[in-house]
C-alpha cells in the first residue's frame, strides 16, 4: 500500500511517548494482558501514568534503578507475561547493557524496552544524549530493534510487539517530533523498510526522527533538481538489507541519516550491506560525529551537525558532486 506522508503538509508535531502509553491503555481496555514497568518516569500527567492509575495491578514502578528495571521486567516475562518497560533512554543502553544482554536477550524473553528521549532529543547535553545505543544493540543476539519514525508508527510497533517473539528495543524520542505519515493507513511489518517517497538520483535512508528531516531534505533537493528517494528503516534488526541493495542499484547513491553516532548505528548497518554487496554505489553516513555533542535544543543540534533538511540536502548534493 502506498503511503501518504506529510511531505506537502505544514509540520505536524506529536509524541511517540504519549502515543505508546495511549496504545497500551487501549490494549488493556481490550482485555489483553501485559505487564508494565517504569523507573520513576511515568507520572500521572503522561499517558503511561494514566494507564498505571487505571490498571495498577499490572504495573510496577521500580524507582530510579534501570538495571533492576530490566531484570525485573525479565522475571515478569519469565512468569509468562508480555512486558513493556519504559526506561529513560539516556540511562538504558549503557547503564543496563549487561541486563539487556544477559537478562532479556540471552533468556530470550518477551520484554519490550521502550527507550525514551533517544539521540539528542532530551536536550541537556551529553549526559542525556543516547548516541551509542544502536551500536550496542546491533551486536546483541536475539534483540529486535525498532526505531519508529513518528508517533503513529510507534503505535503500530506496540501492536506488532504483542505477537512478536523475543526481546525488543523500541527507541523513541522525547516527544514533540514531526509526523512523517499523514495517516496510519499503511502496512507495517517489523523488519520491512518503507519507501516513503520515491526518487531516482539518491536514496536517503533514515530512522526515527531523521526520516522526517530526510523527507524535508528531499523537498529541498527537488528545488535543486535532485530526485531523492526516502526510506524509513524503522527496524535496525533484523535489518532490511534487500531494500538497501535495491535502492543502491536503482539510485546509485545512498546516504544514511540518524540521530545517533555515525559509528555502528544505522549508517554502520547500511555500510556493511553495501560493502559486502560489492556495489558501485556512492555512500555517505550522516549522523552525530565521533564527539560529545554540542549543547542546544534538538533542532539547533541537528542544524549544527547538518542533520536538518538543509544540512542533509547539502551533504547529499555534495555526495552526488552536483
Amino acid at each position: 500500500m502506498a503511503v501518504e506522508t506529510t511531505f506537502d503538509f505544514d509540520m505536524m508535531l506529536s509524541s511517540a511517548r504519549e502515543a505508546y502509553g495511549e496504545e497500551l491503555m487501549a490494549i488493556a481496555d481490550e482485555g489483553i494482558d501485559f505487564a508494565f514497568v517504569c523507573s520513576d518516569n511515568a507520572p500521572e500527567s503522561c499517558s503511561a501514568g494514566k494507564m498505571m492509575s487505571k490498571y495498577p495491578e499490572r504495573c510496577v514502578n521500580v524507582g530510579i534503578a534501570e538495571q533492576d528495571e530490566v531484570g525485573i521486567a525479565t522475571g515478569l516475562a519469565l512468569s509468562g507475561k508480555v512486558v513493556f518497560a519504559q526506561v529513560f533512554g539516556p540511562f538504558l543502553p549503557l547503564r543496563a547493557a549487561d541486563q539487556i544482554h544477559t537478562d532479556a536477550a540471552y533468556n530470550d524473553v518477551n520484554v519490550r524496552l521502550i527507550g525514551t528521549h533517544s539521540g539528542v532529543t532530551s536536550g541537556g547535553g551529553p549526559t542525556h544524549n543516547v548516541i551509542a545505543d544502536l551500536a550496542l544493540y546491533r551486536a546483541i543476539p536475539n534483540l529486535t530493534i525498532c526505531v519508529p519514525a513518528d508517533a503513529g508508527q510507534c503505535r503500530k510497533v506496540i501492536r506488532a510487539s504483542l505477537t512478536h517473539q523475543g526481546p525488543m528495543i523500541i527507541r523513541i524520542s522525547r516527544g514533540g517530533e514531526p509526523d512523517v505519515y499523514a495517516n496510519n493507513d499503511y502496512d507495517f511489518e517489523i523488519g520491512k523498510a518503507i519507501t516513503v517517497r520515491d526518487g531516482k538520483d539518491i536514496t536517503l535512508i533514515g530512522c526515527g526522527p531523521s526520516v522526517y528531516w530526510a523527507l524535508m531534505a528531499s523537498k529541498e533537493l527537488e528545488t535543486r533538481g535532485i530526485s531523492a528517494r526516502v526510506v524509513d528503516m524503522h527496524t535496525i534488526k533484523p535489518f532490511d538489507a534487500e531494500k538497501v541493495i535495491k535502492c543502491a542499484k536503482e539510485t546509485g547513491a545512498v546516504m544514511s541519516v540518524e540521530d545517533h553516532s555515525i559509528n555502528g548505528g544505522l549508517g554502520g548497518a547500511v555500510a556493511e550491506v553495501l560493502a559486502e554487496a560489492n556495489l558501485d554505489c556512492k555512500f555517505k553516513r550522516a549522523g552525530l560525529p565521533d564527539q560529545f555533542a554540542v549543547l542546544g535544543s534538538p533542532e539547533e543540534v541537528y542544524k549544527y551537525y547538518h542533520l536538518d533538511a538543509a544540512g542533509i540536502a547539502d551533504t547529499a548534493q555534495a555526495l552526488l558532486g552536483k
Partner: protein
C-alpha cells in the same frame, strides 16, 4: 541447636547429599571444568530444596504451579546437574556428551534455560538473579498464583550493586513469595569476602532493608531442615520478603578443598578425584556413626 527435627528426613537428605557430592565430583572430573568450591557449599541446600522443600515435579519441570529456583550464582550449575541426573531428568552420559560440545551443547558451566528444561533463568553473570527473581515473584502475584520463588546468591556476589536495588524493590513490594538464600561460604575468587569487600553484618543489612531474616548452618542438614521447616507459607499478599543466610564452607566435604579460595574454579585430576571421594566417604561414615 537442631533439636526436634525429623531425624529420618534428615538422614534421607544427608544420604542424598552424600551421593550428589560424589556425583558432582565425578562429573567435574569427567568434563574437566567446574567451580567446585561453591558447588560443594550449596549441596545440602540444593538437596533440601529439590527433594523436600520446593513444590516440584521432576517429571514435569514446566508445571505451571512449580516453585521457581533461580541459581543466581550460575557458575555452580553442576550441583543442579547432579541432582537432575539423580532425579532421572537426564542421564549422566547424556549430560557429559552434551556438555559445552559446541552445536550439540545442552549443558555448560553456566546453565542456559533455553536448553535445560528445569533451569528457570540463564545465569552466570553475577548480580542478575535477584532482580529477575523479584520480577518472577511479582509475576506470580499478578497471576494470583501460589508458587514461590527461591533465589540462591553467593556472599561474594552480594557485592554487586544490582542486588541492593532488588533488595530494596522486594521490600518495597513486600514480596511474601520470595526467598533469597545467601550461600555464605565466606570466600570469593581471590580471597576472603571479609578481606575483599566486607558484606557483614549481612543479617542487619537485610533487616534494615525491611526483610525478615533466618539463618542456618547450610552444610548441616539437621539445621537446614530445622530452618526450612520454619518457612512461612508463600503468599501473594504483602509480607516482608525472607532472606536466609546459609553459613557454609567453601569446598565442603572435601578436606583439601575446604576453606580455600584456590578451589573456586577449575577441573580436577584423577588423583585428586580419588582423594576427594575418599574424603567425602570418610565424612559420611562419621556422620552415620553419629546418628546412633
Amino acid at each position: 541447636m537442631s533439636a526436634n527435627v525429623d531425624s529420618k528426613l534428615v538422614a534421607q537428605l544427608e544420604d542424598k547429599s552424600y551421593k550428589i557430592r560424589k556425583d558432582l565430583l565425578n562429573f567435574v572430573y569427567h568434563i574437566g571444568m567446574g567451580h567446585l568450591g561453591g558447588e560443594l557449599s550449596i549441596v545440602e541446600l540444593a538437596v533440601a530444596l529439590y527433594y523436600k522443600y520446593m513444590n516440584y515435579d521432576p517429571k514435569n519441570p514446566q508445571w505451571e504451579e512449580r516453585d521457581r529456583l533461580v541459581l543466581s550464582k550460575g557458575h555452580c550449575g553442576e550441583t543442579l546437574y547432579a541432582i537432575y541426573a539423580d532425579l532421572g531428568m537426564y542421564t549422566t552420559e547424556y549430560m557429559l556428551e552434551h556438555f559445552e560440545s559446541l552445536d550439540t551443547a545442552v549443558f555448560g558451566q553456566h546453565p542456559n534455560r533455553k536448553y535445560i528444561d528445569p533451569i528457570e533463568v540463564s545465569c552466570g553473570s553475577l548480580g542478575h538473579g535477584l532482580p529477575i527473581a523479584v520480577g518472577l515473584a511479582l509475576g506470580a502475584r499478578m497471576q494470583k498464583a501460589n508458587w514461590r520463588t527461591f533465589v540462591v546468591v553467593g556472599d561474594g556476589e552480594i557485592q554487586e550493586g544490582t542486588n541492593w536495588e532488588a533488595i530494596m524493590a522486594a521490600a518495597q513490594f513486600q514480596l511474601g513469595n520470595l526467598v533469597c538464600i545467601v550461600d555464605k561460604n565466606r570466600l570469593q575468587m581471590s580471597g576472603a569476602t571479609a578481606d575483599t569487600m566486607n558484606i557483614d553484618p549481612l543479617d542487619e543489612k537485610f533487616r534494615a532493608f525491611n526483610w525478615d531474616v533466618m539463618e542456618m548452618q547450610g552444610n548441616d542438614m539437621a539445621d537446614v531442615v530445622r530452618c526450612l521447616e520454619q518457612l512461612p507459607p508463600s503468599t501473594i499478599e504483602k509480607r516482608k520478603p525472607l532472606a536466609i543466610i546459609s553459613n557454609t564452607t567453601k569446598g565442603c566435604g572435601v578436606d583439601f578443598m575446604e576453606n580455600t579460595w584456590k578451589w573456586h574454579g577449575g577441573g580436577i585430576a584423577k588423583e585428586q578425584l580419588d582423594q576427594a571421594l575418599a574424603s567425602v566417604e570418610k565424612k559420611y561414615q562419621a556422620l552415620i556413626a553419629n546418628r546412633k
